[in-house]
Symmetry: D2
Subunit: 236 residues, 4 copies
């Protein structure tokens, strides 16, 4: 079961471009795409009870998608603890766009997630640098996004275990836009495109990437309970 | 400038074997070794004012050695924040033995640091699996420790950027005992041996490894202030 | 389609222990295990026409298993070229035991594959250091082999992209026994156990590992033709 | 001792732009830069006896710089064998520009080195994605080259152990332009810029990068003889 978690604030802010592009929320657009791909999923958002992620939801989630921007600080550390434990136990985690500053991003990766940015609606080309990777399945050499926010290097992340996409921006920058890491038993994918003021998540190729990511991040076996150190007095 | 930080509680506990092995603290033994190698260093410990790491000390530290065991929870999160910022800016960090459960270990690596363990004083052989690595300089194929605590796999860490040592234990276990990571501009080294009840830090080869690690973790340039995201409106 | 390629010389040598353990060849024992797991596969061996790997066979292979020991030098470079091209295009490659000195091992990895060894029939414990990895699915903390040849570090390989198993040997050594790399679009797995004088491939857990490896190494999409550099005169 | 090896054919071809830009060869321009940095070095080129690399030269080389383009196939495999052995023993290797198709590149990395390319003299920006790396010391956020050949992804290489530079090209492409690997005890650096028809090696920042690379690739200890497998009958 995939849970698509969305902050869902920008889309409900009058005059925010997101309100027009995603009137029912980014999560709802992703949900439609996942439904077409027959992925078992549900949605959740910040202003639901328990931040949309009460225990019964999180403990029944195999892959968690996360989109946050304005309200990173509203997520309590105790929820971050629970998400971290579940990722270490095997849950997949897909971090979208401005979630590079989410608490859970920083918790799992240990770096600041800092970068440079510019909102000019410039062209982005998302190059596939690892064409055999499952997350790039079905794509050509690159995906072109006519209008995007720019994110530029240096991006303060641990070197990815696998680098899948590198972005080119019209304004002169590059960015490591598709990054894979493993932490504990869980797989983590960060995907850059997704600014709320451009129709990125309506793009069919972006949807294909996120469907691929959902499959890639799905754990092979059951998710394990939190790991703790253990005394082992048995001798060989 | 290297700062050797030690919890320094076990050594001051009557009847604790550490009190006999390290009457003036583990940090003092490391300090003697570093002095012989002419490494510019000082020591600090938990029960000093501001946990031994007031701003003027931390901000003048290029490599921080860390030994903790009983009192991980006494370190305030605000100090962990400051250490993390400084590592991301370039400070080296060498985490010793039971510090696999230190707050700063978990903060930088994003995993639990869990493992299995057994205290029987069994033989350990520390094999060099990366003989060209600077931290292994001057060693033979392995270092033998006649009596050691056992740490066993699985060790809940991100796969090391460079794996330098793997331990063999008499009782039948193995362990990734020397692990390198880069986070931001900083280099991190975890080194397993070092139980307070065995004279590990008196061993000349262990001292050589830690001297090598101090040099390896020293930043090439000045340490940068904390990184934050930055708007860049310049266009190409 | 999996092709299990075996040198198949030791097993046909009178008085060689392999003749008794594997009277119809190591490949035949692996074939039985794969058949039970319903893996689509066939076998091939060195003394067949075209070394058992004529074009129609290789070009219909998705994962190639390789066991060689006495006759590495009999493989012509032209066959190594063809295997390399196919791996870069997406074919999986599973290299077994003494194949650490096979031409195709050295071709794909760029190092000598050197190690230390000892045949005493000592106990080996194969520890899982990456318990979430698909190749370790269904295993416990370790697999114990009562009698094995020893392989010891340093093992001259590029640091694995993913390290899955580390061996402990009764005689005091450790070894990185399960190593994953990606080259081009292809996945490569090296698996240490498998000496022809011990019944390693009859072990149910070893069979499980190799079945897991076959699945892991299977390409997600079609295998691509050899890649070459390409002029691209299109401008943005 | 650094040896700067150059094919030195383009520069001696009348009407080739290289003849005007590098009348005494690319190696001579690099030599001047290294002399200013007081790096102990010498030059060698293809048309010298024994391809410029007789045993006494290679066996006295700590870091080998390599620039090739037209004559990759003239290098005998036996020389590639000797270079490989020396790299595995600790010699640094810096591969420049079109050397992505050199025999020694393919030998050490196991992939084809394929890429896309275009010669239009377009602008390149070489972004630093690993600002703490010694090879990026002293640089700003990027290095701008007003006119360059384009190299584009996918670049058929093993994922770098450390990725230092990513290029942006005016025409819409990106490229992993500064890549580090370790093989055996040796450090390898591939650096993209350097087309013979543009004055890349006269650029002060490019020279700084190559000086940094020379220092980074210098082995910490003596270079070891070729490694071979070794029987070890000693038991613990």
């Amino acid at each position: 079961m995939i849970t698509i978690w969305n902050e869902y604030r920008s889309e409900r802010t009058p005059d925010n471009p997101a309100a027009e592009l995603y009137p029912e929320g980014i999560h709802t657009v992703l949900s439609s795409a996942f439904a077409q791909a027959r992925l078992d999923h549900r949605t959740a958002y910040l202003d639901q009870p328990e931040y949309g992620l009460p225990d019964p939801v999180l403990e029944n989630t195999d892959v968690l998608f996360w989109w946050g921007y304005l309200a990173h600080d509203e997520i309590p550390d105790a929820l971050v603890d629970r998400i971290q434990e579940r990722v270490l136990g095997g849950m997949g985690l897909v971090l979208l766009h401005s979630s590079h500053h989410a608490k859970v991003f920083k918790r799992m990766l240990g770096t600041s997630g800092s970068l440079t940015y510019r909102v000019r609606g410039e062209k982005e080309r998302l190059w596939v640098v690892n064409p055999g990777h499952p997350i790039a399945a079905g794509l050509g050499a690159f995906v072109e996004l006519p209008q995007a926010e720019m994110y530029g290097e240096p991006f303060d992340i641990p070197q990815p275990d696998e680098l899948v996409f590198v972005s080119w921006f019209e304004g002169g920058e590059v960015f490591r836009s598709g990054c894979c890491w493993q932490r504990g038993r869980g797989r983590i994918f960060y995907f850059r495109p997704g600014h709320e003021a451009f129709p990125i998540y309506h793009n069919a190729q972006v949807q294909q990437i996120l469907i691929n990511a959902a499959r890639w991040a799905t754990p092979a076996g059951p998710i394990e309970p939190p790991v703790t150190s253990r005394r082992d007095d048995a001798l060989e």
